[in-house]
């Protein structure tokens, strides 16, 4: 077990962080809003952590205090909430594909801005973000509780008055409006919660991957996140979590397959580097054959019933 953890430490933590990011995309989707803004807030959170830990509290030697990492995560959440509100109020007047496009533009604007600012290190970015842990697997001490908290949050949200309002908007915005649900208010709320989650993950990720630059949190990340949610499932919080975990591990698994001898060179190459192509194809096929993703409330209920029957 320790050998496994050591060999796959980076992957395992990445899986957990991906699952949290997928939840960030899932929350607006509860209200029927496909927002691809999460990578933008993820990038923002990362810069906040990277700048804070390298410029404001530089540590000469030894480990960076975990308490400061948590502080950065909180600051990232608040900053993302503020920016989320500012972007969300005008952006959420748009619907469907136009909202998706606007959020892609937002991510792109943030990328270009960070590429051209001094404080973000321009094209080079910020190197040597200090480490709070001696080994990478120890990031689980922050990653797992974060995932657990976010899962608990979304699970309870789904069963609350607020969650019902969001789902009503997804099902029929006009009818929800006529039944007293303020569409703008709840869409902005979902968008802001989504921004906060992404910001927190970004702050932790900056430490985890040790460096932060404008290639973090781009449209590519958005496509991956969309794959996590649409393939995992967009009708229960379990879907994006499983999607994030499994699809992050998938490229590694494919790489393992590619190393099997006897494969044609082009196929091995594709399995190694075709991650985004594979995700894209899966999104396309998934939306046709599993429009609500692989894990749906129906699937979970059937499993629960089977377990109840057995006992």
């Amino acid at each position: 077990m320790p050998a496994f953890l050591a060999a796959y430490d980076f992957l395992l933590v990445s899986m957990v962080l991906a699952a949290v990011l997928a939840l960030s995309l899932y929350v607006p989707l509860m209200a029927g809003q496909l927002s691809l803004a999460s990578p933008g807030f993820y990038a923002l959170g990362g810069y906040i952590a990277a700048i804070t830990s390298t410029r404001i509290f530089p540590t000469a030697s030894g480990l960076y205090p975990v308490s400061l990492v948590i502080l950065e995560m909180v600051v990232a959440a608040l900053a993302s909430a503020v920016l989320g509100l500012l972007v969300g109020v005008p952006a959420l007047r748009l619907r469907g594909i136009f909202l998706a496009l606007a959020t892609i533009a937002f991510v792109e604007i943030l990328r270009v801005v960070s590429l051209n600012l001094d404080v973000t290190g321009g094209a080079i970015g910020i190197f040597g973000v200090p480490q709070p842990f001696a080994s990478q697997i120890q990031y689980m001490w922050l990653g797992l509780p974060l995932l657990g908290l976010c899962m608990l949050f979304v699970a309870r949200l789904e069963r609350s008055r607020t969650g019902r309002a969001l789902v009503a908007l997804r099902e029929d915005e006009l009818a929800a409006d006529a039944m007293g649900v303020n569409p703008t208010r709840y869409k902005v709320l979902a968008f802001t919660v989504s921004a906060m989650i992404a910001g927190v993950v970004g702050a932790l990720s900056a430490h985890f991957i040790n460096t932060w630059n404008s290639r973090q949190g781009t449209f590519d990340t958005g496509v991956s996140l969309m794959a996590f949610v649409l393939i995992g499932g967009s009708r229960t919080f379990v879907g994006p979590v499983v999607g994030g975990l499994v699809l992050t591990a998938l490229p590694e698994a494919l790489r393992g397959v590619a190393d099997v001898s006897g494969l044609p060179a082009w196929l091995a190459q594709f399995l190694r580097d075709g991650r985004l192509i594979i995700f894209g194809v899966m999104i396309a096929l998934g939306t046709v054959f599993f429009p609500h993703g692989l894990i749906t409330p129906g699937v979970l209920q059937r499993r629960g019933r089977r377990r109840a029957d057995r006992s």
Partner: protein
């Protein structure tokens, strides 16, 4: 609740009316869907709205519930000007509706459909709901109970967990009525509630509407094509034709009105 004296004097409707429609006009480009329509709906009455297809009945409902903004005229609800308010504000004031082509939350259960409409009568927010504070949990319990009671009222209490879209057309219309009632409205707008129902279901619907009005002290505004149902249920009827109000009065009088016979009952008279 006080209304400026001038408005009462000028308006076509006195302040005692639940709903006052005053010279209401709605234009879509060159088409006038509703033209200078004025009438008042009195507390506790069942007010029928009839007219040929395209007469502007559903547009009028959309204007009253805020889904469409009027081009001209005023709307007053319980003495308060509601012209131009967004739908959710109007709903919160106590106006609920059903839709001509049923708009349930199809993927959600019957119970959830009804619970959602308790939104404006409940208050727990994001934080208290997620943390499961005692106040939020108590509210959730009451919401569930009331929703179940309403399902019982419309006769769907045996299938609370069924998805909305799985119900028969007639049952979907009853579920929509339960959802509208969950809002605790004082004014209920029913858009062709009997459409798609068989004659047995129609009789049941008449009883349901009468029962609900008596029990909940409701005022009901009703669009319906099924003439016997309208004549049977309504205290007064307004007839629209090409967006204009051509007759208004008790069913018997409207039935004899020459303009109405020509516009609407022509074939049957």
């Amino acid at each position: 609740m006080s209304v400026p004296a001038a408005r009462v004097a000028n308006g076509a409707t006195p302040a005692a009316d639940v709903l006052g429609v005053d010279a209401l006009t709605c234009r879509f480009g060159g088409v006038i869907a509703v033209s200078e329509v004025s009438f008042g709906v009195r507390p506790g009455e069942v007010f029928g709205l009839i007219g040929p297809n395209g007469a502007g009945k559903t547009t009028l409902f959309n204007l009253v519930t805020g889904l469409t903004t009027p081009t001209g005229g005023r709307l007053r609800y319980q003495g308060r000007d509601i012209t131009g308010l967004p739908p959710h504000r109007i709903a919160a004031l106590g106006i609920a509706r059903t839709f001509q082509n049923v708009r349930l939350f199809g993927e959600l259960s019957a119970l959830q459909n009804v619970m959602i409409a308790r939104h404006v009568r409940t208050t727990s927010g994001l934080v208290s709901g997620v943390l499961g504070l005692p106040s939020a949990r108590a509210e959730e319990r009451v919401t569930r109970q009331r929703a179940m009671a309403l399902l019982e009222l419309v006769g769907l209490a045996d299938r609370p967990d069924e998805q909305g879209r799985n119900f028969s057309y007639g049952d979907q219309r009853r579920l929509e009525i339960a959802r509208a009632l969950a809002l605790e409205p004082q004014l209920l707008l029913l858009d062709e509630p009997a459409a798609g129902m068989n004659s047995g279901e129609k009789r049941g619907l008449s009883e349901l509407i009468r029962d609900v009005r008596a029990r909940l002290a409701l005022t009901i505004l009703l669009i319906e094509h099924h003439v016997p149902l309208v004549m049977d249920l309504c205290d007064r009827i307004a007839v629209l034709n090409f967006g204009q109000l051509i007759a208004l009065g008790p069913p018997a009088a409207v039935q004899k009105n020459a303009a109405v016979i020509e516009a609407y009952l022509g074939d049957e008279a």
